[in-house]
Symmetry: C2
Subunit: 322 residues, 2 copies
Amino acid sequence: MPEPAVGVIGATGAVGTVELDLLAERGYEDVRAFASERSAGTRVTFGSRELEVELASPDTLSDLDLCFFSVGTAASAELVPAAVENGAVCVDKSSAFRLAEGIPLVVPEVNARRADEHEGIVANPNCSTIQLVCVLEPLRRAAGLRRVRVATYQSASGAGDASMKRLLESRPDEVSVTMDWPLEGDEFEEESKLREETRKILELPELAFIANCVRVPVLVGHCQAIWVETEQVLAPDDARDVLASADSIRLADPASAPYEAVGGDDVLVGRIRRDPTAANGLVLFTACDNLRKGAALNAIQIAELLLEDERVVADDRHLRAV
Amino acid sequence: MPEPAVGVIGATGAVGTVELDLLAERGYEDVRAFASERSAGTRVTFGSRELEVELASPDTLSDLDLCFFSVGTAASAELVPAAVENGAVCVDKSSAFRLAEGIPLVVPEVNARRADEHEGIVANPNCSTIQLVCVLEPLRRAAGLRRVRVATYQSASGAGDASMKRLLESRPDEVSVTMDWPLEGDEFEEESKLREETRKILELPELAFIANCVRVPVLVGHCQAIWVETEQVLAPDDARDVLASADSIRLADPASAPYEAVGGDDVLVGRIRRDPTAANGLVLFTACDNLRKGAALNAIQIAELLLEDERVVADDRHLRAV
């Protein structure tokens, strides 16, 4: 297989940096880095060498087979269609296309089969959604899902570089939990994203679902307390077995899980116990590196699905290098 | 009314320090400070003057009308009965006596009437319990409670001075959420305390209740995401009205609530909305200064109930100064 020409757009940001690290680790060689005017011309690390950052524009995003976008929603809305037009398949991490009809929203462990329905764009879900559906899908397969409630403990890196910088410059006695998302009616945009993306990925459009999202003064690593009610009985021990054998899940001691998740590729799950207040109720606590599995790693896993899948090649506008 | 002789035991700790501040603010004058051997002989600030810290022992805790204990469970178990024997009424903030039969566990806004049933000891609940029942009680009065789920975001100060010190000495990139409580079966001791204390205070021994407790790297101020199902329908607007007129509750903008709660006396409540996944379901988010209303302030409010209540004077072993 010829080496795909890869573009990382948003290469100087928190997620873009991790994307470059993961691509280097996995042996990709033909990689270009792009960013907005502010960072164009600077250099970023890629494995043992450096890349000059190119300006991302509808014109410059050409001669690429595969693009990883880690930029804001407005920038994605402008640049992703241009990159597709220029011949690339794009994995986009913004919310610009996630809920659009006909655009696959993919977490490979859950709905890999949807990736090959793309027409140039595959959307990468919100970091909290990825972490959640990796845990919900095995439970759904085992016992069906009736109702999901989730309380999040989201790190500053999920809000981007400025939030990370602000936290790094704060004293421990200056910080608090925050809720920095725009309101949509009586819920945060983040909460409705989490619900609608989960419903789309699980293909359960009516799933009873409610989230309460909170940002905590932690640099990297999201946690979630999840209350699930299943359709059939699922004892905590059985839930543990089901999760232990699921892809990208690792059972972990709750006392160490939040720390251990950072830098790793798995969603760590612990505290699996009965919710005695509900029929078929379970409670779990999970931790995940929001920059890796929650973003950059999931995007690469999507791309590797596309690269593996020969059906994609039928349309020669896309993934020309395969 | 003669000035009561007050002892603050654990006077050098996070809660004891706030207790002294609040007593000074409220005009108490005959106040003595006590601590363990490690701190005895040091001095603490009390209003515009300083107090020498006395050693807390079964012998030294005498000639006191009212004692505020903010020490560990083992120390309370030893010293509280001695202070009572020596003639004081004790408000104890440890978990030593909270669930003991016949010992009132009091949050004045909720069950003030229980305070006068004491026989020398009134227990002050866990900080998370106080914050929670202040919100649950008005909802219960309006519509009954069927089921409660709570996810906590607890600050380091709830774990005592060593945790505060550790956080203050940490860099922002070194901290994470933690779960530092002992396990009791499949739940943390903190979670079973929260359930059993809530049931005792609300006098709902069968209340369907489940908590997931998490410590966040914040110095002061606890938050809670609460899912409540009421017996009767209670629209979010009605819940808001009910809470707005409840004692020690203040409706607040969620974006600022966690910060505003610190240093204040109220439980701040925001994000009151319907939980569409449950019949009569509501979701709320609350914030509270765990050292003040969650501990030192609640204890003073209990003491002031006792000082006001003439029925207490009938037994002259207690509150002799009243």
